[in-house]
């Protein structure tokens, strides 16, 4: 068991989400930065898709209920029993009762905690991810709070692969690269000036952004034809343009269908980078070549 001694403002159990279910309205769900969760899992000898803790917005404290191996990726600082942890070799063997105090990195929105064996909450429809709008999955379908006892699963018999050096963890936060997009299903509804607004402007991540979608502040993007269409499938990464022209990038918990035109879709490889952007941060887009 892992005890949540002091819960951060926003932490949920996540794995890689649901492969299918869109036809019944179930979102893809899962980690906002699946690559970072996967690396954290690999470090402690789990399969990359094991469930871990997705953590955001502030510090908190965990306590090991038994001897275990644990890692934290994407954090600013980790204290183990009040001593700074070795962040260059971030796989720590914890004694029962060990205290893990975690502070986020100011450049990352989400950090991940992985434990050897994985967080063993029950699988719902094949995933251990928390889907907050539905109040199911993960740990009791909700954010973690102080006093929660998270079950840990059995470790894999053999450790898979070599340890990933933490420097090999792709830094989603630091790169000032434009986010790459492909043309969306309704690209043709936007004229050249509107497309240029998307591809040549600087936007900022709005404070009203969450696991369902990121709103962007910046110039409006106005379609040249009637904006709304009969609802059709959407996906994480789709850039929807609502009537006001303010783009929304759909995230893993976002709706599976929508009636707003989708001008472009963020590449999967870049969506995790965008997901790590904190509110106020500047973002640019470019067409994938």
């Amino acid at each position: 068991m892992i005890l949540v001694e002091k819960a951060p403002p926003f932490a949920t159990v996540q794995d890689m989400g649901w492969l299918t279910g869109r036809a019944i309205g179930l979102p893809q769900g899962g980690a906002m930065d699946p690559l970072l969760l996967g690396r954290a899992n690999t470090l402690v000898g789990n399969l990359p898709g094991a469930a871990g803790i997705e953590w955001a917005l502030g510090p908190g404290v965990l306590r090991a209920g038994f001897a275990c191996e644990l890692t934290v990726l994407g954090a600013g600082q980790v204290l183990l029993n009040d001593e700074p942890a070795d962040m260059a070799h971030p796989v720590w063997s914890l004694e029962p009762g060990a205290r893990v105090a975690i502070t986020p990195d100011p450049e990352h929105r989400f950090l991940y905690v992985a434990v050897r064996g994985g967080i063993a909450v029950p699988e719902i429809m094949g995933s251990r991810s928390t889907y907050l709008p539905g109040g199911f999955g993960g740990f009791e379908g909700r954010r973690l709070k102080a006093g929660d006892l998270l079950p840990v699963g059995p470790a894999l018999h053999t450790r898979l692969g070599g340890l990933v050096h933490p420097r090999a963890v792709p830094d989603a936060g630091a790169a000032e690269m434009p986010i790459r997009v492909t043309r969306g299903p309704q690209w043709d509804r936007f004229d050249e000036p509107a497309r240029r607004v998307l591809l040549e402007s600087r936007f900022r991540i709005s404070a009203s952004s969450d696991r369902m979608g990121f709103r962007l502040e910046g110039p409006a993007i106005v379609p040249s034809r009637t904006a709304t269409l009969p609802s059709e499938a959407a996906c994480p990464g789709a850039i929807q343009i609502p009537d006001g022209g303010v783009p929304i990038v759909l995230m893993p918990d976002g709706p599976t269908v929508g009636g707003y035109p989708k001008i472009a879709v963020v590449l999967r490889a870049d969506l995790r980078c965008l997901a790590q952007y904190l509110p106020g941060r500047e973002v640019r887009f470019r067409e994938a070549g």
Binding site: S231, A234, G237
Partner: protein
């Protein structure tokens, strides 16, 4: 890509959307259902999921996008791919889909907080609203918004109203609601802008059930007033 009355557009790197039209009507939806059935029956390698909607069928896949697109082009025009003049045998019940449309009867207590408002706005009595809402069979056009949320139509024209000016921050699960020409049952407690005219205890979505969602696109629904 154009042709055969269908356009195929990309939805990111791992999905194609086949656009059959831009309207909400039953005839178009029949073509959507038929195409979704044909795609399911074709058992295309790498295909992950098919999401039919009002006027589109979106196919999520892993693997070679161009190969999937070629298969979709062929399926958009079954007569060509299956021999001259050949009709596809009952495309709505293609094997592999297991999608025999079902008729669901949903018991409703018509005591919703907006029933009086709907009556006033439509110039009907609350009894007439209930009568007209429960007096017809609805088509499940698609599922989306949240898990298990079915968009049902078409509403009796006299009940068509715009959405609430201010959406509620929380609509209780089981609420039976109307907006535009659509009606729906909220499977989960979520924010919502539709008019709440009743409630059901029938679970529209239960993650522990198999299948979790009561409705599927293409199913039919009747509402039965409960005392």
């Amino acid at each position: 890509m154009s042709g055969f009355g269908a356009t195929i557009v990309p939805l990111g790197e791992q999905a194609w959307t086949v656009v059959l039209g831009e309207t909400v009507d039953r005839l178009l939806h029949q073509r959507v259902t038929a195409l979704a059935g044909r795609i399911a029956g074709a058992k295309i390698p790498g295909l992950v999921e098919i999401v039919p909607a009002y006027a589109t069928v979106t196919v999520f896949f892993e693997g070679d996008a161009e190969e999937i697109r070629r298969r979709l082009v062929a399926l958009c025009h079954p007569e060509r791919s299956e021999g001259a003049g050949g009709r596809h045998p009952d495309p709505e019940r293609s094997e592999g889909e297991g999608a025999e449309p079902q008729l669901h009867t949903i018991p409703v207590r018509y005591t919703g907080p907006d029933l009086a408002f709907v009556a006033t706005e439509t110039g009907l009595t609350p009894e007439q609203v209930v009568e007209r809402h429960s007096g017809r069979e609805y088509l499940v056009y698609l599922l989306g918004f949240v898990p298990g949320f079915g968009y049902l139509g078409d509403l009796d024209p006299s009940l068509v109203l715009p959405r609430r000016a201010t959406p509620r921050t929380r609509v209780p699960a089981g609420s039976v609601a109307i907006a535009g020409a659509q009606t729906a049952v909220y499977p989960l407690a979520t924010p919502g802008g539709w008019h709440l005219i009743g409630a059901t205890t029938m679970a529209m979505f239960d993650p522990a059930r198999e299948p979790p969602a009561l409705l599927r696109a293409g199913d039919r629904v009747r509402f039965e007033p409960m005392p």
